[in-house]
Amino acid sequence: MTQRQPFRAPSGGRIDRGTPLGFTFNGKPLEGYAGDTLASALLANGVRIVGRGFKFHRPRGVLSAGAEEPNALVGADTGGGMVPLVRATLLPLSEGLRAESQNAFPSVTFDAGRVLDLTRALWPAGFYNKAFKWPGWRVFEGAVRHAAGLGRLPRGADPVRYRHRNTHCDVLVVGSGPAGLGAALEAARRGDDVIVAEQDSAYGGSLLYDPMTITGEASDDWLAAAIAELSGCSNVRLVRHGTVAGYYDHNVLTLHERVTDGGTPAEILWKVRARHVVLATGAIEQPLMFVNNDLPGIMLAGAMHRYAAQYGVHCGRRVAGVVNNDVAWRSLLALSDCGVGVPAVVDVRANVRRALRDAAEARGIAVHTGATPWRARGGRGVKAFHYHGSDGRMAQIRCDAIAMSGGLNPTVHLYSQAGGKLRYDDDLACFLPHACRQDVTVAGAAAGRFATPAEYNIAQRDCAPTKKGAQWVDFQHDVTVADIELAARENYVSVEHMKRYTTAGMSVDQGKTSNLNALTVLARLTHRLPGDVGTTTFRPNYMPVTLGAIAGDRHGEFYAPARQLPASEWHGANGAVFDDYGSWSRPAYYGDGREAAIEREVRIVRSGVGLFDGSPLGKIEIKGPDAATFLDRIYANTVSTLAPGKVRYGLMLNENGIVIDDGVIVRLADDCFLLNTTAGGADRIAAWLDEWHQCEWPDSKLVIVPVTSQWAVATVAGPRARAVLAGFGGLADLETADFPHMSVRAGTLDDGVPYRLQRVSFSGELSYELSVPANRATATFERLFALGEPHGLGLFGVEALLVLRTEKGYLHVGADTDGTTTPLDLGFGRMIANRTTDFVGARSLRRPADRRPDRRQLVGFEAAPGAGLVRAGAHFVTGAGAARRSEGFVTSACISPTLGRPIGLGLLERGFERRGEDVVAFDDGNVTPVRIVDACFYDADGSRMRD
């Protein structure tokens, strides 16, 4: 059942009374109209208490009609699940909307947390910095965490679709009030690409409730014409429900659009690159400070005006005005004209313009000037307002609502984010945009143009001169004038310190209605001018942006791009189990049972022949007369002495002497090399070479061409590898005499396909790497697989290869090395000593610290057969009692199928001189005795791969 709307005026407003919408608030069915916000619909239904204060759980009602709302933050479900902290003042009402209060238990009208309010004196600003010291924070943490926070996180999958949109424009206009639309029209007529972003559901800003005359026209007509013209321009994009949340360097801004019409709810995060930005973001009315100024029913005067004029909602039957400026009088007069009862206006100023007084009196509004606002009385709503009259006596106005105004403050958040500087204007008593390095202009109320000083006449703000009762500054974080006094008394006099000590302005509304009052109080207490106190730093985002919108499509399978092998499907059809290795998806092993499969694959390579897909292996060609000299400078090895047709292992260092990659260098011709990098290093090393060539040795005559993905690589490894390849038409003379270990050959297969064959080995067995153009990958694997069948050929994956190379003691850069490992630590000392010319990292290896004997050095270790796996990361521990210490750690480990025992590699202090020593491997509580050995466990003389 729905209720009628007792506070809805019988007529007026821009709502569609023909389209009633049913919704619920805290489970209670209510009704509003299309064109309402949730806040206006709640007010129309007489709902005064919408939430509870963050700290003291005091009842709170709607304060504003816009983005600045500190109180009416609700959980709202528009069909996409319950979303916390939604501003009821911005949420368009929709059929079936479910909304609920937050921070209230058991209910918003009776909240047990209110006990905190009754004991408020115990919880001053900074109480958590002082109170939870003894016996320790942990004792209190649970209770505090339970009490802290606003709203509940939604559960389950998020049905909202998020995406990003990049765009460029000549002019981005933020705000569609008269100033924004004026700027947009001007730019559009000039032919500029224009985007107009409006946070609200309707264009027009203040014109929607505060009509005026624009260029001789009624503003309603002007607005309709402006929107019609802009909608008709192909160079103009109008965006509703779009909040410009961040203003970054170089005129890059984010625009958070909530798509509401049709189907699944969606949010779009625009990244706008604008040549010029017009900020027409308006101004935010500020509250006045008096005792109990947070009672439900006390609202900003302009907001009340807006609810009456735009939504046909009366926020009270008897609304007392409490103001300090002329603009607020306009709101009160308009309220009265909308039929709202306004018995009196209390103004802190002694002198108010005659015209305003006359207009008020003509409407039957009693005028009390020169007054000091003192306190509001009431419990769950306002019952009366007390003020000190100009005659010095306390007087009372009976009312059920108060329209207050402490003057306007331009919405300069984006301007400030852009690096714009602000200045305090004494006449307007607010901060105005002053200067900005970015290409931005500020228009309308955001530039302080809400009135001329003569038509504004704002009195300096201050709180009521009383210590009795709480005068609220930050409604959302429950910060009072007394809290700021405490902060000042304890010397938190910098505005940034005061903010953090009291938490004023730190809640989700970021102090849109509290910062100015807070710093005004601080200024008075510290005998400074507000301009000297200054503002805290404005940072993105102006309004909260959902994490989903920031993530966009970067989640699930689209979290990061995945690279696939050219023969990926073929491997899948042959039982490959894929895993991620860097950005590549590669076969980890084939068949069922990971451990058994890996062991089987290792044995096949050691005893027969295996086939491996090495396509991601990095391939970079370097050609030019200076290529050899350049590579001598890049590698820790000498490259120039390599003969054409030959292959050499190489190490690359950074300038710190740290190993960054390894692989083989292939000399294809006198002036042409092919570098093989690790799969993960392919792009990085190509960029590395480019950087050294372009930045350090630009005169070197050479060109660098990465060709990794052009070639698929099939590795045939094992004692029977030669027999398998010999059947491949076009590959002949594979015997060692014709084609020894570490040599290369290129040519054309019998079917005309170009190939490259390298005899290199990472497994320690006889091994050939056959490269063919990637489109031939599947055919080549099929053919090798068929040729290998009589020889018992089996596929092997990355995991088996890692076991094979560990048995062989071959390095895996990034696993066996870290950001401190030099070639000296890896046993390449003789190679380095033989170099007399400079190379990248060479000088660093001559530093004393790089030559210390107690550095961690690469060693092998083995445990007794039957001991469990000692995992990578386990520590080598020596000594006992107080002398017990870690001297290094395991970097690679496996249970060797070939040796039948746990083996591995590790980095150990003074490792080279400790062969034969017994130490203990400590792995997460498991202790395994291990013996330090040479870092090669298999075929130490290399005859299996050479012969």
Binding site: D249, A435, A443, A447, A687, Q694, D838, R843, S844, R847
Partner: protein
């Protein structure tokens, strides 16, 4: 996010580029002292104001170039090619323009 003018491709988003740190560093040879070498490796000017640094348009034309950037305002004062001398640092102060408040 910065918008960086690549000398070859025009203005692009910062995400297309790789930062290479301070530019115009002279690489000492093997004969350098430990002090000279550590200076080259680790010590940078880190000025408040115009910083001469190198960037690579890594997702574009793959070219390295120099950028003179104000570290306070992130303004890019000049862009010039590798090997070219830095422009005179005259255009530093006064870069803030008055807001065109209407």
């Amino acid at each position: 996010m910065l918008r960086i003018p690549c000398p070859w491709c025009g203005v692009r988003d910062e995400q297309e580029f790789r930062f290479g740190g301070e530019s115009h560093m002279t690489r000492p040879g093997l004969a350098s002292t430990d002090l000279e070498w550590s200076d080259y490796l680790f010590n940078r000017g880190n000025p408040k104001g115009v910083h001469f640094e190198r960037w690579c348009h890594s997702c574009g034309c793959e070219q390295w170039f120099n950028v003179a950037r104000d570290t306070v305002t992130h303004e890019i004062v000049a862009v010039y090619r590798m090997g070219e001398r830095p422009p005179a640092a005259g255009r530093v102060a006064g870069s803030d323009c008055e807001a065109g408040v209407r």
